[in-house]
């Protein structure tokens, strides 16, 4: 019943789709991490402007569907002179969306560190920069790692939404093959299995990293 020849036939298209998914997710996640860290930094600077602005950003990007955000830029963009390719919209959209989640993960990690540790650093004469680099960052990394990995898996999955704005990633390729060949089962089954495998690999890698970074807690 299941015709695997179909997959062999479209091997190249499928591989190209996988590659596009990897590119979009990896790019979007890396950019999102950097942007999330920057957002966290701005919030730490504080002030009557930055803190509400931060919360507005987080509420906006976490409170609306990624699809709406993508459509606004992809279909609305040309009306305001923003003629981006689907790939660029997808990459930037994924990064902006992910950044809101990443920033909140960093915030939670930072807030979990007792204030006294910062006080003792200051008392011993460490500068704020040194305190962040030596005292806060390593602990934030350890505390944030599990949620960061979770969010990474979520964003890899969310990258499938880019298919709707015509980015030729894995989901998009599978839909094309399905429509062309009139066989719905094989392409979609393989599609699901591929994402499942990616999610399992990312989660397992994350668990290993976490064990590495939290050695000091569990002994």
């Amino acid at each position: 019943m299941i015709d695997f020849n179909l997959l062999a036939e479209h091997r190249e298209a499928i591989l190209a789709g996988v590659w596009m998914t990897v590119k979009m997710s990896a790019g979007g996640i890396s950019l999102g991490l950097l942007l999330g860290l920057a957002l966290h930094g701005l919030r730490q600077l504080g002030g009557i402007w930055l803190v509400p602005l931060y919360h507005a950003y987080v509420a906006l990007f976490r409170g609306t569907p990624l699809l709406v955000q993508l459509f606004l830029v992809f279909y609305g963009g040309p009306y305001i002179g923003l003629e981006w390719s689907a790939e660029r919209v997808g990459l930037v959209g994924l990064a902006l969306y992910g950044a809101a989640y990443f920033a909140e993960i960093f915030r939670a990690g930072r807030e979990a560190i007792p204030r006294g540790q910062i006080e003792s650093a200051r008392d011993l004469g460490l500068s704020p920069g040194q305190t962040f680099r030596v005292v806060l960052w390593p602990q934030m990394l350890a505390r944030c790692l599990a949620p960061l990995v979770g969010q990474t898996v979520i964003l890899v999955k969310e990258s499938s939404v880019l298919s709707i704005i015509t980015v030729a990633e894995l989901t998009n390729v599978a839909m094309t093959i399905a429509t062309q060949s009139y066989s719905m089962l094989e392409p979609y089954a393989v599609l699901a299995l591929a994402y499942w495998a990616i999610a399992i690999v990312v989660a397992a890698t994350g668990a290993r990293l976490e064990r590495h970074f939290t050695q000091y807690q569990c002994r």
């Binding site: 007792p114 200051r122 008392d123 602990q139 000091y216």
Partner: protein, 265 residues
């Protein structure tokens, strides 16, 4: 260099919003003097100590360490202004604090906890920093735990490491903010012994504590704080044996009763 006072506190005030915590404190501590600060909870004793190393920004009066004003400078017109963070840090290199909650950094080994500030703040090279850190750990009897993480140590051991970490910075003044309050009773002694040794070595110490017996034994002067004011101060023998104010009498009576009930139990 030689100042008559290590710490001078003049008419010190601290407000938290509308809450007036310190209401005009005057206190001098000479070099080599050991001063214990006692008082009930909420009397402002920890706040007083934290104003000295500017973990709290005081809102009136002045604090001088080795003759240098902490936290604020005065402009040409005499208006006080807050000094830049770096200047404040530099003026406090001679003061180190030991906290109630130890505040070690849990992700670093004991030796790194002690050596890191030396390397970061004083730019001491790695090998030398480790050597000096190890020496201070030996001094507090923690040399054998250099490779452990803070989480693996008892509270008393962690506090001794925290003291070694402060000592490594070679301060002339040490502040102790209830150093034994977070410890199990059987671990208090080992920490007090280390502090006593520092007192005998001639270091300037300001100690906020609930350990009256210890305060009586090591202090040159005891200060009793109540509701943000110094109610009474003097040599420990006079203060504990012949308290003048009603507040101090009451404070000592209730403390004795608590000790008594502990002894019964």
């Amino acid at each position: 260099m030689s100042q008559p006072y290590a710490i001078e506190i003049r008419n010190l005030h601290k407000h938290y919003g509308a809450h007036h915590v310190l209401k005009g404190i005057d206190l001098d501590i000479r070099p080599g003097e050991v001063v214990s600060i006692i008082g009930g909870s909420g009397s402002g004793k920890s706040t007083l100590l934290r104003c000295v190393n500017f973990l709290e920004e005081y809102t009136g009066g002045e604090v001088l360490v080795n003759g240098r004003m902490i936290g604020y400078g005065s402009s040409v017109t005499g208006e006080p202004y807050r000094l830049p963070e770096q200047t404040i840090r530099e003026s406090l290199t001679d003061v180190c604090m030991v906290f109630q909650q130890f505040n070690l950094w849990p992700h670093m080994r004991v030796l790194d906890n002690v050596a890191a500030p030396l390397r970061l703040v004083k730019g001491v090279r790695k090998a030398e920093a480790y050597e000096r850190a190890q020496a201070q750990l030996e001094r507090v009897g923690m040399g054998h735990k250099a490779a452990s993480y803070p989480g693996q140590l008892s509270g008393g051991q962690q506090q001794r490491v925290a003291i070694a970490r402060a000592l490594t910075m070679q301060p002339s003044i040490m502040l102790f903010d209830e150093p034994t309050s977070a410890l199990d009773p059987e671990l208090v002694g080992e920490v007090l012994n280390v502090i006593r040794d520092l007192a005998h070595a001639g270091m300037t110490l300001a100690i906020v504590t609930h350990e009256m017996g210890f305060a009586a034994r090591v202090s040159d002067k005891v200060v009793f704080l109540a509701e943000g004011r110094i109610e009474e101060q003097g040599a420990p023998r006079e203060l504990f044996n012949t308290p003048q104010s009603a507040r101090l009498q009451q404070f000592l009576t209730s403390w004795n009763e608590r000790q008594g009930s502990l002894a019964m139990a």
